[in-house]
Amino acid sequence: MSTVETKAHAPGEHPDWTPPATEIGVRGWLYHNLFSSWPNSILTVASAALLAWILLNVLPWLFFDAYWSGDDRSACPAPGEREGACWVYIKVWFKQLMYGRYPDEMLWRINSAYVLLAGGLIPLLVPVVPERLVSAPARWRKIVGGLMVAGIVLSVLTGAPSWFGAIFFWAALAMFVGYGALLAVGYPVIAVLLFLVDVPLHPHLPADSIGWALFLAALVALQGLMAFADRIWPRFSYKPALGLMLLIVFPLVCLYLFAGGSLGLKSVETPLWGGLFLTLVIALTGIVASLPLGVVLALGRRSNMPVVKAVCVVFIELWRGVPLITVLFMASVMFPLFMPEGVNFDKLIRALLGVMFFASAYMAEVVRGGLQAIPKGQYEAADALGLSYWKSMGLVILPQALKIVIPGIVNTFIGLFKDTTLVLIIGLFDFLGMAQAVSTNPDWLGFYVEGYVFVAFGFWVFCFGMSRYSIYLEDKLQTGHR
């Protein structure tokens, strides 16, 4: 037959050819993504034009014509008389937007908590740090431990804690986090940088110095515990311990630092809390509490036990069926009416509980979606191996179910993060609320656009960060099935 004769190679001997130029390289990319057909080409050109038009109109306002220098009202012309944004406005009110009315001399507490959180989260979220850098060598621990003690003594003796002390604190944190040599050097450098841009990391108030010393002492103790834990308990593993510490110890430390009023720290009433700080307190509480609560509720809803199931269904449907604003109103106005005389919870705590339960009801349904996506065979295989209910859930079902619903979980987190702005309605001044509050200052009337753009940017950074992290996590957990 002719087909056999025209074949260039014997059957089974055909070599691999390189693909045509339209399939690979820059040309291939352009062709496939931008100009694959006439309608697509038109759309490409039209969107490019639109994008250019937007940028040409927005960029000058944002950057080129904007007012950057100056420290007071005189730096910018009045609204209507200027072309660009007045970022001096943000500079002037930055402290309020970040911390609300939290007293200046106590801001080190909030900053310390931020750094503690970042230091704890980075090794957990980004598992690329090589193992040998994760646990600090014992020699380093001894040196830094010694410096720490010297720093504390020096700080307390000289009365006003110096920035020396703050550097020792960072070194200690590095050891506590356990990065070892690399970042034990890195943290003091960061501390010095933060000091130079005037971010307080140590108290300026003599009244706070005892509390600060206690705080540092607790860090030393924790560091020692982490360093020698594997000798006491051979199955000690560094990362789970760090996670547990962030979940249990860190909130307690935050409570001690933020609220004050105990063990050498002056008290700060919650009405003074505000700005991005308050937003983070509410959002992180909701996020951290809603996931475990949601998992428990989702499992309960699928339980064979009628009472457990009924309780979970009622809880979920009740909280999910009510708007968050209603929940917050109930928490702030109705709840105190039901309490006996003299019993009074802080308004912030009531709002936190409301947000927590509200978010966990949503989370429960997201998790349930994941549980339903797990094939029956997985449950059966776990059962057949003799795993108990909790073990099969914890080791087999939930790791897979939660992985499937990462987009849904992060979606809920992002929604929750933005919903926290509703606390304005019960008189708590979060990031957005603070922007609104400062825009009513008589000297700065008419600068609200800058405030809102800044707040929008702040929210976007956090939400986009969560979104990217969820994509990273999905890729990382991809194990090649399906």
Binding site: A381, A384, L385, G386, L387, K391, L395, G480, H481
Partner: protein, 265 residues
Amino acid sequence: MSDNFAVEGLEQPTAKMEISDEVMIQIAGMHKWYGQFHVLKDINLTVNKGERIVVCGPSGSGKSTMIRCINRLEEHQQGQIIVEGTELTGDLKHIEIIRRDVGMVFQHFNLFPHLTVLDNLTLAPIWVRKTPREEAEEIAMKLLERVKIPEQAKKFPGQLSGGQQQRVAIARSLCMNPKIMLFDEPTSALDPEMIKEVLDVMIELAKEGMTMLVVTHEMGFAKTVANRVIFMDGGEIIEQNEPQEFFNNPQHGRTKLFLSQILAH
């Protein structure tokens, strides 16, 4: 006639496979319903230690359901199932004891896709038997060598072929050191080229004296390995006999029809 049943190139068992008098499984007057539907009717079956039983029958005949009752993946409503002297009831303790000693291999492997092959194998020993991790991993590697895929230990199940996955699934069950192995159509989801590698592992297991209940359509396997073949239809055990007798001299009309149909091609 006998050559008709043998899978080409299938390893023939050589060692003499002993069957002792010790009773491993005793099923008496067992019934099961799905709602109104009577799936299993008056099942009576005794399995001795070292027996290799092949269960066959048309789909929907209840053969899978029957062996799934033995480790309580399905609940029976009437009658008695006693596994190694422990009766299966609603009592979770009893179920736990039985599941530790009864391994199961599924049609669709049901490996845990989020864990590596090695972690699939060590999960139950570590968490159920409380074996130290190093020891569990050592045992797991030995078993992976036995099923001839030690080099895949660090891979995820999704990266393996069907035949390799099923061999991992067998090794996973063996990690719990079971006294009885249940196979629920272990080769039905496999390409023809991969069936042999799984059957070879099962034959090895039979040679070592494992008590096995196998639901399968591999008549070659039944012929060469089984010491008893059970035919089920409509939720009942219709006929059971030694393989030679079962294939050459079926007693029941339904059995004859079934055999003529599966051997037609």
